[in-house]
């Protein structure tokens, strides 16, 4: 028999020391600040955490440009962009709450651990009072958790997994981008209209949180339309040659291929599917079709001609004709010479929404900002009337069904808006099984 080295006294002693140790930093900070990183001087610092290296670096570069433009506009430089069309008039181009906006940037490398480390450094060393950015749901979920613990606000950038505002939702985290469920809800009626009710579909799915929720949502909605799933095959995120995953599709009896892939993965899988003749094929007496549920302009650019005619969904498109979009495209286009992507739009809007919430709350305190954003309705930021729902901190707005453009007017004219699905059609209850299991918890101001 082994003798346990635990004693009651020892345990109490360690417990007391550990407790004091844990309490110590908060005692000091709470004396100095009312909340985490309360801005003291004439500036307030925001932290922009985007992939600057790794496979999503180009996406990240676009997000960063949008953040920089937003900061300019907040500080009253440039033409003001969407500040002129935003339904709230709290922001006047005089910084936020009279403080000039400064920012620091971090590199997520599209890896959760690197993203957490850079967010941590921006919070602890640079005094960032808000973190934004993303472009992978794995990263967004990890950084959101960190911000909740640290007591700063997280304004998610491009993240499309249901889990970000589903089972992994946090009180300090907010998402403007749409999610996999909304994509599927918007796409399903369009697909069954275009391709018929009697279809058999095969899915290739990126093997991580976003891919899983995307595949589950597509299956739910397409089966609701009367389609039958042949198989859902998970592919490793690092996979670059999909040929061995594509060849089984050819003889599976499926007549639709749904690619739950993103970024470089999607560019490769779609290109290869086209090489295998899948878009010229007849199966079960019908034209074989390929569907990409989440399409971005950057991916369309990567896929080139192969994207033509392909249906998918987007959060936003620069060709929309509302005043907000026009103002944003004009100011982004003048600054950088290219139209903004949907990732740029969501990051720009998130920065404005955060600044506006601080202004309306009269404080940078996360526990004042959270109620200012919860249940907030706004307009003029490119997506029409939008609601930040209090129950899960998810934005609800119209969803775009887009199609690869086969009559491009110029090199940016890659996607057409096929249909705008009104928000009522993609709305769901907070306790929807696809989003169940999480809890927002309490706001944390880090004090």
């Amino acid at each position: 028999m082994t003798k346990s080295s635990f004693t009651r006294r020892g345990l109490l002693k360690t417990g007391a020391i550990a407790g004091a140790g844990l309490a110590l930093p908060t005692i000091f900070t709470s004396r100095a600040n009312a909340y985490m990183n309360e801005p003291k001087g004439g500036t307030v610092t925001l932290g922009f955490n985007v992939p600057q290296t790794g496979p999503y670096a180009d996406e990240g570069a676009d997000e960063l440009k949008a953040f920089q433009l937003a900061v300019k506009h907040l500080n009253g430089e440039g033409d003001g962009g969407m500040l002129n069309t935003f339904s709230s008039k709290a922001l006047t181009g005089n910084g936020v709450l009279g403080k000039k906006v400064a920012y620091v940037t971090g590199d997520t490398q599209t890896k959760s651990d690197a993203a957490r480390a850079s967010a941590k450094s921006m919070i602890e060393k640079d005094g960032a009072v808000m973190i934004s950015g993303g472009s992978s749901s794995g990263v967004a979920v990890a950084v959101q958790g960190l911000c909740q613990e640290a007591g700063v606000i997280f304004m998610a950038g491009l993240t499309h997994s249901n889990d970000t505002t589903g089972k992994d939702k946090k009180a300090n985290g907010f998402r403007h981008f749409f999610d996999a469920y909304m994509s599927a809800a918007a796409l399903a009626p369009v697909l069954s209209n275009q391709y018929g009710k009697d279809r058999k579909f095969y899915m290739l799915t990126a093997d991580y949180t976003w891919g899983w929720t995307q595949a589950a949502s597509m299956k739910e909605f397409m089966e609701g339309e009367g389609w039958n799933m042949v198989a859902d095959v998970k592919t490793p995120l690092a996979s670059t040659d999909f040929s061995s995953y594509l060849t089984p599709v050819l003889n599976s009896g499926a007549d639709v291929l749904i690619l739950n892939h993103y970024g470089g993965n999607m560019v490769n899988s779609l290109t290869q599917a086209v090489q295998f003749g899948m878009r010229d094929k007849q199966v079960n007496g019908k034209q074989f079709e390929v569907v990409v549920p989440l399409i971005s302009e950057l991916m369309a650019k990567g896929a080139g001609k192969n994207i033509e005619g392909i249906l998918g969904s987007s959060n936003w498109n620069w060709k929309l004709q509302d005043e907000g979009t026009k103002a944003f495209v004009k100011s982004y286009g003048t600054e950088y010479g290219v139209p903004p992507s949907q990732a740029a739009q969501t990051c720009y809007v998130q920065t404005l929404l955060y600044a506006d919430a601080c202004e309306r709350a009269g404080s940078f305190d996360p526990c004042a900002v959270v109620p200012a954003l919860e249940g907030y309705e706004f307009d003029g930021l490119g997506n029409g009337k939008t609601l930040y729902r209090a129950d899960d901190h998810q934005c609800f707005k119209d969803v775009l069904v887009v199609q690869g453009n086969d009559k491009a007017q110029n090199e940016y004219d890659l996607l057409n808006v096929f249909e705008t699905t009104p928000v009522e059609k993609v709305m769901y209850e907070p306790d929807n099984p696809f989003f169940a299991g999480g809890d927002l918890g309490q706001c944390n101001s880090g004090a």
Binding site: T53, G54, P55, Y56, A57, D58, E59, A231, V233, P236, A238, T240, D241, S243, S244, Y245, T247, P248, L250, N251, S252, G263, G264, V267, N268, T271, Q272, Q275, F276, G277, D280, K281, Q282, L298, G302, A303, G304, K305, W318, V329, K330, G333, T334, P339, Q409, N410, Y412, D413
Partner: protein, 343 residues
């Protein structure tokens, strides 16, 4: 049955890339005794020669067309490639369309220079050092090359399409008497397989039927004796290094339309190619080719849904599993010779 046939084809084509890279690795190892972890980077540089060629041919001058508007409503800037203005629109477009095969003419000199500089500038200083040092320095070099490419070309994959004539697929089933529309294979992948067979054939004939090749083979089996005969074997080995670089580079050029090149593509192939070399037998050129095709086909067959339903995840590990079995039963690999890497 047709599914197996299709996967075999697929494996042959994947195996082509493995075989070409492994062939170069074995050449370098057999001649110089260096374990070259930068070989995947050479493959990647080859693919970027295709990208560069495409960009060179697409270099354009800008004219402003007042009748059309761009996305901001300003007059549209129309870009016309120089090639089209020199050779006429039709001929110019055809040249641009064939940019990937044309890139071979760019890749050969580029890879010869890269190979020569790499060997003379860095690797020759590591001949007498342990294999661990060689692996570290070449691995470091691979990372440097990757980052250079990333800094110049960005991190996202760059689409490099095959000529339009090869962009579709061939109905092989119909040609061989099966039902039509069942066994369809992309034309460019078929071309890649044929191309790799030609390159492999060329390397073997070069070693077998030229005096230079004979000296190199003699040097591979007994370096000292060849040196004693008054032959400068080191210079020949430098040239072999450059040739191995060209083989990897050409494999990369032709691979570009199959998978849009990105800076990281070499690493994906490198590890597998080392397994191929080990399974084939260190230092054995036929072994490298045989193992390349064998492992390519096995990997492809293992990724069939019927197989994966019985053994989930088998497609990810099959190559390593085979490597373990081969090494346990035939420690020198399939065609390995006695005495290689055993001193």
């Amino acid at each position: 049955m047709d599914a197996i046939f299709l996967q075999t084809l697929n494996g042959l084509d994947k195996g082509s890339a493995y075989a070409l890279i492994a062939l170069g690795l074995t050449l370098i190892f057999g001649t110089l005794g260096v374990v070259n972890f930068a070989h995947g980077a050479l493959f990647m540089i080859g693919a970027f020669c295709a990208v560069t060629m495409q960009r060179l041919l697409n270099l354009s001058f800008v004219t402003i067309d007042e009748t059309q508007k761009d996305f901001l409503g300003n007059p549209l800037k129309v870009e016309t490639p120089y090639v089209e203005s020199w050779f006429g629109p039709d001929m110019g477009a055809a040249i641009i369309n064939w940019s990937v095969p044309l890139a071979i003419f760019l890749a050969i000199p580029v890879m010869l220079i890269v190979g020569f500089v790499m060997e003379r500038g860095l690797i020759k200083h590591f001949y007498k050092r342990p294999h661990a040092d060689q692996i570290l320095v070449t691995f470091g070099l691979a990372i440097v090359l990757q980052e250079l490419v990333k800094a110049n070309y960005g991190a996202n994959p760059i689409p490099t399409p095959a000529p339009a004539a090869f962009s579709g697929s061939i109905d092989i089933g119909a040609a061989l008497g099966f039902d039509p529309n069942v066994i369809i294979y992309p034309a460019w992948r078929m071309a890649y397989f044929v191309f790799s067979i030609i390159i492999i054939g060329a390397v073997f004939s070069f070693l077998q039927f030229t005096t230079f090749g004979m000296v190199v083979r003699a040097g591979m089996s007994d370096r000292e004796t060849v040196g004693l005969l008054g032959i400068n074997i080191n210079r020949r080995f430098t040239i072999m290094f450059a040739i191995a670089a060209v083989v990897a580079g050409l494999a990369g050029v032709m691979y570009a339309p199959i998978n849009s090149p990105d800076y990281h593509m070499g690493m994906n192939f490198l590890v597998l190619s080392f397994v191929v070399v080990v399974v084939g037998g260190m230092g054995s050129l036929p072994g490298a080719v045989l193992a390349g095709f064998l492992l390519g086909v096995l990997e492809s067959l293992a990724s069939m849904n019927e197989v994966k339903n019985i053994l989930p995840g088998i497609d990810q590990i099959i190559i390593y599993l085979v490597a373990i079995i081969v090494l346990l039963t035939r420690p020198r690999g399939l065609l390995g010779k006695k005495g290689v890497m055993e001193d």
